[in-house]
Amino acid sequence: MSHRLADHGRLIDRSKRIGFSFNGAPLAGHPGDTLASALLANARMMVGRSFKYHRARGVVASGAEEPNALMNMGQGATFEPNQRATTTELFDGLTARSQNHWPSLDFDIGAINTHLSRFLPAGFYYKMFMYPRAFWKHVYEPFIRQSAGLGQAPRERDCDTYEHFYAFTDVLVIGGGIAGLLAAHAAAQSGAKVLVLEQTAFWGGRSPVDGGTVDGVPVEQAIEKIVGELEEMDNVTLRTRCMGAGVYDHGYVLGYERLTDHLPVAEGPRHRLWRIRAAQVITATGAIERPLSFAGNDVPGVMLASAMRDYAVNYGVAAGRRIVIATNNDDAYRTALCLKKAGLDVVRVLDARSIGGGALMEEARAEGIRIDCGRAIAKVTGGKRVRKVKICAQDGIGGALEDIDCDAVAMSGGWSPVVHLWSHCGGKLVWDEDQAHFRPDPERPPTGPDGAGFVTAAGAANGILSLDGALKDATAAGRAAAKAAGFKPRRTAAPTGDSVAEAPLEPVWLMPRAAQVSLRSKSWLDFQNDVKVSDVQLAAREGFESVEHTKRYTTLGMATDQGKLSNINGLAILSDALGQPIPATGTTTFRPPYTPISMGAIAGEARGEVFQPLRKTPMHDWHAAHGADWEPVGHWRRPYAFLRDGERVHDAVEREVKNTRQALGLLDASTLGKLLVKGPDAGRFLDMLYTNMMSTLKPGHCRYGLMCSENGFLIDDGVVARINEDTFLCHTTTGGADRIHGMMEEWLQTEWWDWQVYVANLTEQFAQVAVVGPNARKVLEKLGGMDVSAKTLPFMGWADGRIGGFDCRVYRISFSGELSFEIAVPASQGLAFWTALIAAGEEFGVMPYGTEALHIMRAEKGFIMIGDETDGTVIPQDLGLDWAISRKKDDYLGKRAQQRPHMTDPGRWKLVGLETLDGSVLPDGAYAVAPGRNANGQRNTQGRVTSTYHSPTLGRGIAMGLALKGPERMGEVLEFAGTDGKTTSARIVDPVFYDKDGEKQNV
């Protein structure tokens, strides 16, 4: 069984104990432990179950590549599923639960799948769930949904905060192992700004575990010295617990910093997403050991040889007491020696190479470890943990020669450089025949906008596995990156590394080489998704030749670990099955992030009250305090209606409409766009933007105008006021302000760059209040200060003045059909002006009204609303707005488009009013049906509803809509189909329902 050793453990503090729980059981570990090392120290070898067959799974790795030890971590508001135990630092009070089992980890119903595995081969879903067709929706999918997914979804809101951070650097080094540190050092000596990211909490990577010397000093001390020097340099920033997650175009890199995962009670954000711009990137991301594919290689207790060494050296944890090691290379002997030194029984090293290895093997033999060359594991037996290993010849089909009792197996299939970050942005790979791995091709790096490479791989990530080679490579990479970033590197010699020379490895993709099918179907490639050697071979037989297709068909490498352990082994098996060399098969695409990053980190600060900007008018807080029921309009919040105590929204709207028509209403119209257009060519410019003539407008007067896109479609409307000879103020819709401002600038900066016009967006400079109703003039006269009589300020006029002591501009315009003044005051006095109007208006029956009352009143008057009557396919002519289209002008935006045959087609649907025969309200968006059916078997249509309300003024439903030849069909009755299967009859009428002659607004 796995256990804590009496010595070793360079990263843990044995003087302190901290408590944590696993599946409810209280356990203890030491500061410095990972959750995985602490579980192993507590003899917890089985830590989860696999996705498909629910097989028992143990810790197999010691870092980010771990596929098995995924946990439901935390609880309540800190709960998070699928957290890797190998990268989770232990803290006091940590709670973890294993995943993917029911009712318990030890006894799991789903484990029956492993006995059905013959019937659950690759592509099982595609083969099984095709027929009968109706079963998919009602039987298969619910079943699959039930069994899919590893961890649980959180039930509570995340209580933590997250943030982004923008960083800029000359050289970014990803990976704080010996190579990354040396590369950073070499780059920093040039004066370049250097940022180093290390995903773990410690510097040095795995070199302190592997040993050796740097310039005669033990590697661990050498690392301390380099880190010390880097810390002293002003141009170097070092970050631990910060993973390089993805490399993107133009030197954009994401870093994922975990700030408080190991200190859950600390204040501050939990994760920080670094958004980095780097001139040059060095990927010193190391290498990952490959598993060997033998039967039973997924049984808890089978572990990567390097991981077993890591647990012993770093955490003082042994994976077992009697250990068998299987290898095809010399590095595994380091594990043998390390374990032996720790006092464990290394019962056998099975070296697949017929002549074995080099100096390290001899050293192990000298220590008394028995080494069998040309031997392999035929099978590991045991369910929830390793019991026995059956040994066979590597060159055979797996006939067992011997059984050995043991409780742990270390496997080493060689090393694969971590090429992910090199590859994210297009870096290409070459197959290294000698080391049997893909490594970065220095001739084909990811390229920047200038066509030159911006990523350099260094050390093991570059396929340089010897210590001395890595030191030289990293130093050269650091210098090269600094130079490429525009700095002059210093000429200093790279340090010399000394480590034991290694004999060549022998590629072993299957153990034994010709394993019979019963073994191949128990030889795991992908531990998390349960993909075996036999599945990939089956896929190849079924015609899946592309590695990308095979991946998706078998799900190889599609689990949360993205195949860090399985990909190379899988594509080697595929290549073998296809009878082609490995480089001809190639790899699947490496995509960011390197390991999963939290949703919170991606969202950053954007949650809760700052999820999205809310735009607020100066009167916003008053509205909130007076019962506003909010409606989002763009990013603004506008009151839909002001609810009084106990009032329903519908009743409030009815009250507001009636009160405005009968007494006095106030509308906060501050959100309307206000664009100032000034210059000698301003009139000419507006004549091009609006369909009607604006240049003839007299100062002091207002005119309603329409704006179209080049394609003729109506995009905005509003009232233009001419301020003086060369200045106009254009009102836009609330949602149109920024869009129309941008459009004006675009035309002025691109097509009409020689016209003398400047535009300024004054939307927020003014608070604007619509004072509406029969008593509107009375309240303004009571406040006093300027003459607002019909004679001095006629309909569609404007004037500057003072009302109630407020500097203001008064526009005599009406969107309600009532006597109406829209009054603009400086925004910082908007609230004071509003409250002054409320106070003064009390005797006149003043009430604020919201956007729904606004909508109803404009619909009663037959006024169109951009976004209701228009939807991007409607031209002004459709809406009967021909009166607002100038025939005198040579051109305006949209004019030619409106002459296209389709636009002049008499069969276009046109605006009409609609009156239901029974007085009910038509459903919004309902279509008017026509006889017959179209090619899709749907009923033909001849019109649709664009706006529909209950009119409090008329006491019945009113609507506007577009109908085929509508204006020619006054009095006809159309049938509108509802979504409830019923139809409603409505008569085509004039769209102006109220005060057609405009007597009310002209008083």
Binding site: H164, F165, Y166, E267, G604, K616, Y758, E764, Q765, P826
Partner: protein, 188 residues
């Protein structure tokens, strides 16, 4: 007439940096040919500072000029003198093709100060805010999270930010989140 009120009414927050709304400021948008001598003279006459170069701000206390774009400058003055400033510039430039307009009420101004001020800003703005890259005297129009903003530095630890008035509450909340206790980055 009542006293004008700024969007956040001088709200303040102390975290790893001090966040404060600094009340109302006189701000005049000036669009025109920035190379024109009369234009520069009109702006400097109101602001009392030299005209800045591209991407620069030349501000002293409540007055200053910020370079907004190749044909736009922002002239700053005390709020109570802005009308006079606008009139003065309009008069001086009556014969030029320019646009001079008061935008004081369309904006909110915040100050972020303290040793971590640069880091607070770098959490929200995609700008290199390291001391060697961004210095007092420079001016930057950019975004803060999801809204437009512009800023300059009063001194090496103090930013002045101009944003639209309607999003003042959002910007203040953003700054509060970015300046929450315990969130020092330790990068600059």
């Amino acid at each position: 007439m009542s006293d004008p009120i700024s969007a956040m009414n001088m709200a303040r927050f102390d975290g790893i940096a001090r966040i404060e709304e600094t009340g109302l400021h006189g701000m005049i948008t000036l669009r025109g040919d920035l190379a024109s001598k009369p234009l520069k003279a009109a702006a400097t006459a109101v602001a009392g500072v030299a005209f800045p170069g591209a991407n620069e701000a030349n501000c002293e206390d409540d007055t200053g000029i910020c370079w907004m774009s190749p044909d736009e400058a922002l002239v700053m003055c005390p709020y109570d003198t802005v009308k006079a400033g606008v009139a003065q510039m309009q008069k001086a430039l009556a014969r030029q093709h320019v646009l001079v307009v008061n935008v004081s009420d369309a904006r909110a101004v915040f100050q972020v100060s303290g040793p971590s001020a640069r880091e607070v800003m770098a959490k929200l703005c995609p700008v290199d805010l390291s001391p060697e890259a961004f210095k007092p005297g420079m001016f930057r129009r950019t975004r803060m999270a999801q809204v437009a903003a512009a800023f300059w530095m009063v001194d090496d630890q103090t930013f002045r930010i101009v944003c639209f008035r309607s999003v003042a509450d959002y910007v203040f909340s953003l700054l509060r989140v970015a300046a929450q206790p315990g969130s020092e980055v330790g990068c600059f």
